[in-house]
Amino acid sequence: MILPHLDAAYNLARWLTGHDQDAQDVVQEASLRAFRAFDGFYGENGRAWLLTIVRNTAYNLLQKNKSLRQTTPFDEELHGNAGASECATPLSLLRGAEDEQNLRAAVEALPDEFREALVLRHQDGLSYREIALIAGVPTGTVMSRLARARARLKDFLAKGNREEEAS
């Protein structure tokens, strides 16, 4: 139940916490929680169930660390990049994505709930329904979070390209 999904669990925890050691701790704690709660599990989707526990454990940790690490609320005004998407052609997007570091930074810059939807959808191929289950929101919300996450990513990559061309 746990080991087959270890990679997905670690990947999600790593993206949510932003740190290797934190992610390992989260996966271990989540695994133990899942193991203890196993008698209470009557669903058929073990992966979604485990990832739900991983997600909640990660957010608990983030909450605990909140006082240590200064987090600022996301500001649409500052990070909106209005109009940037106009210049994004498929070609320029792919050019911006060639750099792995750049891509990672683009995903890391996303708000948590956008990042988790994107990671679960594109890296683990989960359905909207599964993501909705894990994040505890309706599927419509998953759809709009994904759309907004992709729009942000597009703006981020387009902006990176423009700065590259300008320099």
Binding site: V27, Q28, R104, Q123
Partner: protein
């Protein structure tokens, strides 16, 4: 009796038909305009709807009826087709974001944590 009335009936039908035809000719340009407007409006609505469902379509999350609608629209609308290509490229980019593979020691670390957790159990069913 019947044969006597037939021509009159024919004349009535004939005049009704020609009246209908002439009114049709009069209304035809207006009808044409209305049909044209209707098509243009529905095309505009289709653009809006297509953009809205594009992500779900690319994610294979759309039901067959709306999938067909979108595909038909993409064949007919260059602007939406371009939006589709852009979104598809973005999907490729997103899939290219590298995963974080689980570190080598994690599996063992979790296994031993689980073993420690279930120690009382394994001692009962020791095998």
């Amino acid at each position: 009796m019947v044969t006597f009335k037939q021509p009159k009936a024919f004349r009535a039908v004939d005049s009704a038909l020609s009246e209908w035809l002439s009114s049709l000719v009069r209304w035809l340009p207006i009808l044409r305009q209305k049909a044209h407007n209707l098509l243009r409006n529905s095309a505009m609505n289709n653009c809006e709807q297509t953009r809205q469902w594009l992500d779900a379509y690319l994610d294979n999350e759309l039901d067959p009826v709306n999938t067909l609608k979108i595909e038909q629209h993409l064949l007919a609308c260059a602007a939406c087709l371009q939006a589709y290509e852009e979104q598809r490229a973005l999907g490729q980019v997103t899939r290219a974001v590298p995963r974080y593979p689980a570190p080598a020691g994690l599996r063992e670390r979790i296994l031993s944590a689980l073993r420690a957790e279930s120690d009382p159990l394994t001692s009962i069913h020791s095998c």
